[in-house]
Symmetry: C2
Subunit: 424 residues, 2 copies
């Protein structure tokens, strides 16, 4: 008889983080584990004994499918970094005593760099103390900045949403272009890595020119050069669309969003709010070139628009969750599951595992040779890498015109069951 | 042998304005009109003889279906108000001489209040001069502020996008709520009418509490009262989500967005940019209550997110275009097509026509009794009215992971045809 599994979610949510959770649950049940507990709000909530039995919420295949289509962290998430073992042994003793108490054999943490750090420290502590639990990390981040994995679950769906919205916005700009030159500046998430910003290049298709300029945070941004390029483009065309990462900086390392008069405040989660880059640049262009400008920020929807998730991404996120259970079941610990790409066309991928010591806290940036020489667009290599990850849809289950989600506080699924019964 | 049809699009685009264009084209062809010309950039472009033969672009059923799924104005749009007839007869003479030259029998204009004003003036001029052309208006606006029609094509799809995004954002907020009270303020389009802002109430479903507060521009907004209500809510729950219209004003008629330090600039199309209401209120809440806050603006995507269009809306937009041709073919002129609701459940609608003199420049606001007594939410009547309009999906034709659009400058549909061939 196998023991129990404990799974948690950590860091910023994505559109598919719950698909990994679904993969963990389903595979653990299939492999004969007794229970799958979910930490509420990651390790932070767990330390206060906040956890649930996932079987209370995932009761059938329909619930499982709903979970795969639910954005944000079903279990709740946190930003919490464990102290080093030698700094605070007590916290580790507390965690491991809880694990023993709950008969936990496998500990899965779905998250980004900080979460992999948690897996590393807990598995180190287990080695030191001879504890038998296995600790596995599942990668997750829209930013795609985790090393060693070909890409991270969450990235494909965010890119699909961003590229689709960019296409729709460019179409909107073109409808208004008569005798009115206009410049639109789109701001995309990504403090240090330009993976998401670069994804707007996907909008360049048979029926759309795509953005004219794309600026990634990997390279220093020069405002004067940007204005000159925009001016040159406006001589050739009426509509100019530029995309900037929220994290672009000048050559001295100052964020462009810090050029604004108002100081940048902390966001709801304690990070400096990066918003305002596009708005500031729109103002500069308006003042210097005199043309009409507007700015668009994609905001939180980049990480929560599950209504436009990528099928490849949802399936891979699920697969990664399953692979974590499989690895643990085979006795492996202290690893992160990674996605290995087998081929581009047809796209094929599989999972592997890497020692977390090799992974944690490395930030994977867009390689310099995937950005063009001028530093204002991504190359074909970037596109070839990204394109397979946005393929296919995973249609939301629509009830009364809106996507239905699985949540802990749902009062029931009257409407949904009614819908299925009417169809049956 | 029937003559030709001329059709134009005007004002701000919607996700379904092209479905009306498709309805005009299809019905005109079916009824034996010779050609359907499209004005480029509305009457403004037409005055400079910019028009196209739509048959050059809509060559088959696939093109027609693509057009129905393409956001923004396929023909390009303008903001242009015709002078009164007695002020500038010359411009009318020019238009009518072009109509004669092109053998135009029917003139269709798809737009909002300004467009209906154009229809009124042109049909008046025809009456004065004995010209035989018929002039018909097709309503279109995401704002739903046109009188006499039950609702306007474009509203349902914008509402569906806004409600879906609101649900996803609320889910995102909840994922992060552990020991961190947070307030999110969402800003929705709508200068004077709160139809779109009120649509966020649809997010209140079995699996979502919906927003906590909704403020429409129909009522004066009181910042102090808002802060007090938010404070009271935070005592009961960790996550508070408030929705405001971009056009909310204080009791003296000053826009809340004008409270910000920076002055509000004109947008790309000459309107005062209303953005900043939510950002300003987030700052006030943060200062007064000390809790974490963030603001979200839905921006241009509200009118261009055809990837999440409502099937009811796309079908009605198409039907309205067809009804315009039918009316003109039957000899009617100087009317706007309206949508009449026959029943709520099951939802049924039909088209009618109204004399444009009764319509133009009336702005339909949300009735006071569809807003609750406190002025901070919409009532069940509002929901019952809106719910049928967001029903059903009209899946985009996805090519390589992104929605494909029909555009004038498309270089071909290699990829799309390949896709269909592979499936066939």
């Amino acid at each position: 008889m196998k023991g129990n599994v404990l799974v948690g979610q950590s860091g910023g949510p994505t559109a598919v983080i719950n698909s990994s959770l679904a993969g963990v649950f389903k595979t653990a049940m299939d492999r004969g584990f007794t229970k799958v507990y979910g930490m509420r709000y990651g390790i932070q909530g767990f330390l206060e004994k906040q956890y649930v039995d996932l079987a209370d919420y995932i009761k059938n295949e329909l619930d499982l499918e709903l979970l795969k289509r639910t954005p944000s962290a079903f279990l709740g998430t946190c930003r919490f970094k464990l102290p080093a073992i030698h700094e605070d042994r007590a916290i580790y003793e507390k965690i491991f005593s809880l694990l023993d108490e709950m008969d936990i054999e496998v500990f899965i943490y779905i998250g980004g760099n900080d979460s992999m750090d948690t897996i590393k420290k807990l598995s180190d502590y287990a080695i030191i103390t001879g504890a038998t639990q296995r600790f596995i990390g599942c990668p997750k981040t829209i930013d795609n900045d985790l090393a060693l994995t070909d890409h991270t679950p969450g990235y494909g769906s965010a890119a699909k949403y961003i590229a689709t919205s960019t296409k729709e916005i460019i179409r909107d700009c073109l409808g208004f272009s008569y005798q009115k030159k206009n410049v639109t500046i789109i701001e995309v998430m990504g403090r240090n890595a330009g993976w998401l910003t670069g994804s707007t290049a996907l909008a360049k298709t048979e029926d759309c020119d795509g953005p004219d300029l794309i600026f990634l945070p990997e390279l220093a941004f020069n405002i004067d050069k940007f204005v000159k390029k925009t001016e040159a483009l406006l001589k050739k065309k009426d509509v100019v669309v530029a995309v900037v990462s929220e994290g672009i900086k000048d050559k001295d390392g100052k964020y462009i969003c810090q050029y604004t008069a108002g100081s940048n405040t902390e966001d709801a989660f304690g990070h400096i709010q990066m918003t305002g880059t596009a708005a500031y640049l729109a103002q500069v262009v308006n003042e210097k070139l005199g043309c009409k400008t507007r700015s668009v920020e994609f905001s939180t929807l980049q990480r929560s628009a599950s209504h436009l998730a990528s099928r490849v991404d949802i399936n891979e996120a699920f697969m990664v969750g399953g692979a974590a259970i499989k690895a643990a079941d085979e006795g492996i610990s202290g690893v992160m599951v990674v996605i290995d790409r087998l081929s581009d066309d047809p796209y094929q991928s599989t999972t592997g595992v890497y020692d977390v010591h090799r992974i944690a806290n490395d930030e994977k940036l867009v390689p310099r040779d995937w950005i063009n020489k001028e530093g204002d667009y991504v190359t074909d290599e970037f596109i070839s890498y990204l394109k397979p990850l946005i393929q296919g849809d995973y249609a939301p289950m629509m009830v009364d015109g809106l996507p239905r989600h699985l949540t802990m506080d749902t009062k029931g699924y009257k409407d949904l069951y009614k819908l299925f019964m009417n169809q049956g």
